[in-house]
């Protein structure tokens, strides 16, 4: 993606955010709407300025494009963390963290599966104990009895 296109996309996204939030303020009382409206107006103005600046600029210097493959890696990581958070309370901190740690590290090619298994079990257990006894913060136990 060139820098110019990047700027234009950024400008349009922020313009849309500004318009959407401005519309949302329409059913507020004037005292509540005042501050967000001013922000939206400024945001719309600045995004127009950014768009103008980029329209006038020449298409040059191709920005290093993000490879689809590495984007998939990032998406996988975010997806796993998302599921991890969702199941955290249901199956408990210990089991969910052990699974998450193992899956993420295997996916990112940690070379020694057996060593990894030990780390994946020891690390969450230590954390759990530290939180429970040292910091006195209870983490979700989930399906485990402790």
């Amino acid at each position: 993606m060139s820098e110019r296109r990047n700027g234009l996309i950024t400008a349009s996204i922020f313009f849309i955010i500004a318009v959407v939030f401005f519309v949302l303020t329409l059913n507020m009382t004037s005292k509540n709407a005042q501050f967000p409206r001013v922000i939206c107006i400024f945001m719309a103005l600045v995004s127009i300025l950014l768009a103008i600046k980029n329209l006038r600029a020449k298409e040059e210097g191709v920005n290093s494009a993000v490879k689809i493959q590495s984007l998939m890696k990032a998406l996988f990581l975010v997806g796993v963390i998302f599921i991890y958070v969702l199941v955290l309370e249901k199956i408990g901190f210990l089991i969910s963290t052990i699974l998450m740690l193992y899956i993420v590290s295997i996916f990112f090619k940690y070379p020694k599966p057996l060593k990894l298994l030990v780390i994946s079990i020891v690390f969450p257990t230590v954390l759990y104990l530290v939180f429970k006894y040292l910091l006195e913060i209870r983490l979700p136990a989930g399906i485990l009895p402790f």
Binding site: N6, G7, I9, T10, A11, F14, I17, F21, L24, T25, T29, K31, N32, Q34, F35, P36, I39, C40, F42, M43, V46, S47, L50, K53, V66, S70, L71, K73, A74, F76, L77, V78, I81, F82, Y84, V85, L86, L88, E89, F93, T97, M100, L101, Y102, I103, V104, S105, F108, K109, Y110, L116, I119, F123, P124, L127, F131, L135, E136, I137, L139
Partner: protein, 499 residues
């Protein structure tokens, strides 16, 4: 003054507080030294833990990490040629060549003493300047406070970033997000979309952990993961003592670097990278043989190293005196106080003398214990690099989730953090800076409430923006700070035209 120092000493003199200080310093050094992980991330992850500590323990841990991570970054800058944190970018210029020449010990020795000097200098300035500044700030009315909030935002945009428009958009987005939740004055709900958890607004801690923790592991996941083969290149070192003669020679450089670092730190919004570059540049210009810079000269390490630690104390001055964090690292110190319901601003010093002087005294201590600890961490630098990135991803993810979850025992917080992590990564891809977003999110409610109070005082008229001299002056500086890149460009043109 001395009474207060004694009070502060008394506050921190407990086994657990001092122990936490040691742990914080060590953690900061280690994460600072590891390329790819930085102090902000460690502060973010550990922030929720400070909730179960006393207020003084919380700020001591966070500020210990802040100070020592700045120095930790220099260890990898010197030994590897890779800055561990942005603030040690300039240290690579002379630190690494000196290490390659077989004088790694000397480079580390200079870096340590310079950092300690800069850190102590800025802690002293912090202790001396905060009170007078806060006393002046007490005289300011809501309109001036509103203007100060704006100045905090515009200076982080104008001085910190390359693209003013993108920085401004980030700041405005932060302000807009800060309006989510219940409006404090009227009690009305804004932009809540029926989500019960949003009534209290965006959980600030989750936003921080998302932007610093999750964003960095997403970045790490995108990079090709290389196992640390760099350790073979690590230069050996033994003697780090540089001798009194060298120390005497370096004192002027340290003074220059510390002054530059502290001043830049005090100006809200300026990052450490600016200070180190300016300090390096000044040092080069005042040197008798500037052409030797970049090949491994003592002053080339001393100046940036004293300036980046000069930042640390400096950036806390506006935070403690005005409630405006000097940079995004100071935001963590602010959060460590906010977590305990302590308000920062001109009243802070008077209301919390023990806490504030405890913080000052602990900064002195941290900067001193950092020296021997730093050498220890440098010895084991090669072991640190052995920590595989592919394992770190999962561990950091677990710590981020754990930290955000424990804030309110609710999965809403980690989800918000993950959302901010993705947002931070998208912003990184579009080269939009994230620190204006954070500052906007923090300063939003302060700007809004002061603006409305000022409006009430001026009976609904906007003329307070220009009739009140202090407000008008601060706003003028704010506008100038936005135009700073243009001004300096035209100044350079004007100067080269004159030549």
């Amino acid at each position: 003054m001395f009474e207060n120092i004694a009070l502060g000493l008394n506050e921190i003199m407990s086994f657990s507080t001092l122990g936490l200080m040691l742990i914080g310093t060590f953690v900061g050094l280690v994460v600072g030294a590891m390329p790819g992980i930085n102090g902000s991330m460690a502060m973010g992850i550990l922030l929720p833990l400070t909730f179960s500590m006393t207020p003084i323990q919380g700020v001591v841990v966070i500020s210990a990490i802040y100070c020592s991570a700045t120095f930790g970054g220099s260890i990898s800058a010197i030994l590897l040629g890779i800055p561990g944190t942005i603030s040690s970018m300039t240290t690579v210029f002379d630190g690494h060549p000196m290490a390659v020449k077989g004088k790694a010990g000397r480079a580390l020795g200079i870096a340590i003493l310079s950092s300690v000097f800069g850190g102590l200098f800025s802690a002293l300035v912090l202790m001396l300047m905060t009170k007078p500044l806060a006393e002046q700030a007490l005289k300011l009315g809501p309109s001036a406070y509103f203007a100060l909030g704006i100045l905090g935002l515009t200076s982080i945009v104008g001085l910190g970033g390359k693209n003013i428009y993108k920085g401004l958009l980030a700041a405005l987005l932060g302000l807009l997000l800060s309006t989510i939740g219940i409006q404090p004055q009227t009690g009305a709900q804004r932009f809540v979309f029926g989500i019960h958890n949003l009534l209290q607004g965006i959980p600030f801690m989750s936003a921080l952990i998302g932007l610093f923790g999750f964003t960095s592991i997403i970045k790490m996941a995108m990079d090709p993961l290389v196992s640390a083969k760099e350790k073979e290149k690590l230069p050996e070192f033994s003697n780090t003592w540089i001798g009194f003669k060298t120390i005497k020679k370096l004192i002027p450089s340290w003074l220059r670097g510390s002054v530059i670092g502290t001043i830049v730190g005090i100006i809200p919004g300026t990052g450490a990278s600016i200070a180190t570059f300016v300090a390096y540049d000044v040092e080069k210009k005042s040197s008798k043989n500037p052409e030797a810079f970049g090949t491994g000269v003592d002053e080339g390490i001393a100046a940036p190293e004293s300036s980046n630690n000069g930042i640390t104390g400096g950036s806390l001055v506006p935070l403690l005196a005005l409630g405006i964090p000097g940079n995004s690292s100071a935001v963590f110190v602010l959060s460590a106080l906010m977590i305990h319901g302590i308000r920062v601003g001109p009243h802070f010093l008077n209301e919390n003398p023990a806490l504030s002087y405890g913080l000052f005294v602990s900064l002195f201590l941290v900067n001193i214990i950092m020296a021997p600890m730093g050498l220890f961490v440098a010895k084991y630098m090669s072991k640190l690099l052995l920590l595989p990135k592919n394992l770190m991803l999962g561990i950091i993810a677990a710590l981020c989730v754990l930290g955000t979850y424990s804030i309110s025992n609710n999965i809403f917080d980690p989800l918000i953090a993950l959302g901010f992590g993705v947002l931070g990564y998208i912003m990184h891809l579009s080269s939009i800076p994230t620190s204006p977003l954070i500052l906007g999110l923090i300063l939003g409610s302060m700007i809004e409430s002061n603006f409305q109070q000022a409006l009430v005082i001026s009976r609904g008229k906007l003329n307070f923006l220009y009739t009140n001299p202090i407000t008008a002056a601060i706003l003028a500086i704010a506008i100038l700070s936005l135009m700073q890149p243009y001004l300096s460009r035209s100044f350079k043109k004007w100067r080269s035209a004159r030549k």
